[in-house]
């Protein structure tokens, strides 16, 4: 098959997906989308020794209704390093009735720190050396509402 034909067939596949998605979906009266306003982070109850050094909250929106206001949170935590240290953080998406409650963790790859998201509400950070773990949690609703977290294991 010629490349132009392959491209055309691919375009038809993509268009067909959108045709059904737009024209073939049953119409619902309650079609409201609730966006994430902010993402809050707290240490897990069982986490010992983790100290909150700072917490900042900056509004990302201007002149919008209360329900549409979005905030960028920045947390800094500190903890004493020990071999195989695992820091457990609880993540809460605000408001509770957000349509998409999942979040993405964005960070630079590191040989000494590994990250794991559990049950869509917990973040586990494992340290193999004295390092600072810097990462951002982003909402998955398209707005990408961010929360920046720094955990210093020194």
């Amino acid at each position: 098959m010629k490349k132009s034909t392959i491209l055309l067939v691919l375009v038809v596949y993509i268009i067909s997906f959108f045709i059904v998605g737009l024209l073939g979906i049953s119409i619902k009266s309650n079609y409201e989308m609730n966006y994430v306003n902010e993402i809050l982070v707290t240490p897990m109850e069982e986490q010992i020794g983790l100290v909150e050094v700072s917490h900042e909250r900056v509004e990302l929106t201007q002149n919008v209704d209360e329900e549409y206001r979005r905030f960028e949170n920045s947390y800094t935590y500190s903890i004493d390093y020990q071999k195989g240290l695992v820091v457990k953080l609880r993540v809460k998406v605000v408001p509770d009735n957000s349509t998409y409650t999942k979040f993405d963790l964005v960070t630079e790859p590191s040989d000494y720190i590994s990250y794991e998201i559990k049950d869509e509400t917990l973040v586990y950070i494992t340290f193999n050396k004295r390092r600072a773990a810097n990462f951002t949690l982003e909402s998955t609703d398209g707005n990408k509402t961010p929360t920046n977290v720094s955990v210093l294991a020194l």
Binding site: Y13, V20, G24, I25, Y31, T140
Partner: protein, 588 residues
Amino acid sequence: MEEAAKKSWKEKLNFAKARFKEGWGKFKALVLVQLKDKIDFSWTKTRKTRIQKTVFAILKFLVIALAVFGILNIVKLLFMIREEILSYYLVFLGIFVVLNLITVTLGLVKSLYYAEDNKVLVTYPVSSGKLFLSKILVYQIFEFKKALDLLVPVTVGFIVTGFFFGIVPIYTIIWSLIPLMLISVVTVLLGALLSIPGLFIFKTFQRLPILELILIVLLVGAAVYGLIYVITLIPINKGDIDIIRQWPIIRSNINSFILEFSKYIYPITFAFRAMVGETGATYSGYKLMPYTFGRFGIILAIAVVLLVIVFLIIKPFFFNMMTKTFEFEKKNITAEKHNKPKQKYVAFVGKELKLVFRDFGISASYLSVYLLTPILLLFIDRIFMAMDRSSTGDLIVFAINVLLIVLPLLASSTVISTIYSREGRAAYLKKTKPVKPYFPLISKLLFNLVLCIPSIIGCGVVFSQFAQVSTFDIVALCIAVIGFQYGHIFYSAALDLMNPQNELYATEGDSISNPNERKSTIFALVFSAAIAFISYVFFKESINQTKTYDIAFIKLMIIGIIFMVIMFILLILKIKAFYIDRQEASRE
């Protein structure tokens, strides 16, 4: 003394001028000879045909550009997209250039080292350097011609849309075509450079065909595995996929994808910027800045450097390699084989099957389409199943299923419109065979006629999983699709019979732009779309009148059978006209 030196200097200059003129004349003649062999210039003879050809070409260009313009405007209305429109063009350009580089490399391997006209060209009184450059230039002219078929009208469609959206100024429409042509030149020169490893791979595959087979199996296997893996990721609950509700996420993901994609194809992103200009913090859209022309200059410099490299690297062994392929690399079969007489019809079928399986490129292309069509259908149906569809949505999905079964199959059989011409000059041997020409000609189609059936049945099974219709309906659908596929195969074969391109394939290999293939592809697209639309109307009528889809499937089956029979009769009539009546007339 001084005058004598001046005179000698002038003489030298005149001599150089004369030599250049002579060299240029030879080079021009060499290019024209090759072009005349490959392009039908008969339309230039009369005013009427000149006007007809020009008007048709302009119309074709406008139709494609306007179609792109229309689709992009619909996309804008539906998804509130404005500035991103040109990012979508970048994705199109990226995919197109990458695919083009692969086909150009393969095409140049055949055109430079394996073309049949090499045997004649080497006898011309020109240097190997001129011969090499003429081949590259002829290939480039073909690439420009091919670009006018799709790449240029699509580009114009995108840029004009960008102008109407206020993203680009009007002069970008003209300017963007200049770097675009340069991209085509760079692609051909890169392809020429890659033709050396390409030739090595080609020769290795020729020596060890099992390697080629393993590679094809691995590639098709990876594609199937990848698709099945993606299918398992699709959510299975109804309502999980909802474009309107999830549009912010989809849009965000598309934008992230484009951003990542543009990083991976940086050279193409660079060339794209040379076409449309730069974005800036103080203005919206794209503007042509001095930096843009700098980019153009860099690409131009790259093209020149590539030309020098290609000339220096390939030229020294080009002549040797091109002559080697037809002078020294002949297999002398010394082993005696016992002649086993076979029934003449069995012999034809056996010969055709051997030919198809010997060319892994063709057989793999067919097999991958036949294998991937049901899997892709399963993929898209799983997505549709995760959508909370209305009753109209169900009908649309049924019609789209018909489209997505018919379109890839018909698109794959467009190669049939080249099947007789591919034999090159050997095709005339068919006329010498001691049988009526119907059987040898139709036995060439046998591979496709047989192998499409399991694929169509596979599509039917996938459709039945999704559509919950009776077995009778599925059987009727399969018969209908077989009818459409067979009809299109017969139609494409008839195109090749009526307007054979044997000389083109004999001289240039399969890298040419074949008018029959174009006609067959356009027919496949228009026919598939028409069938999908007709199916939608039938499904709607049938469900409203009888509460089942039976009538719709029966109607489709009847249309399929009628189409197949008509095309078969037309093919038989054309074989009779071109292979029997014409020969008898010439004898008389």
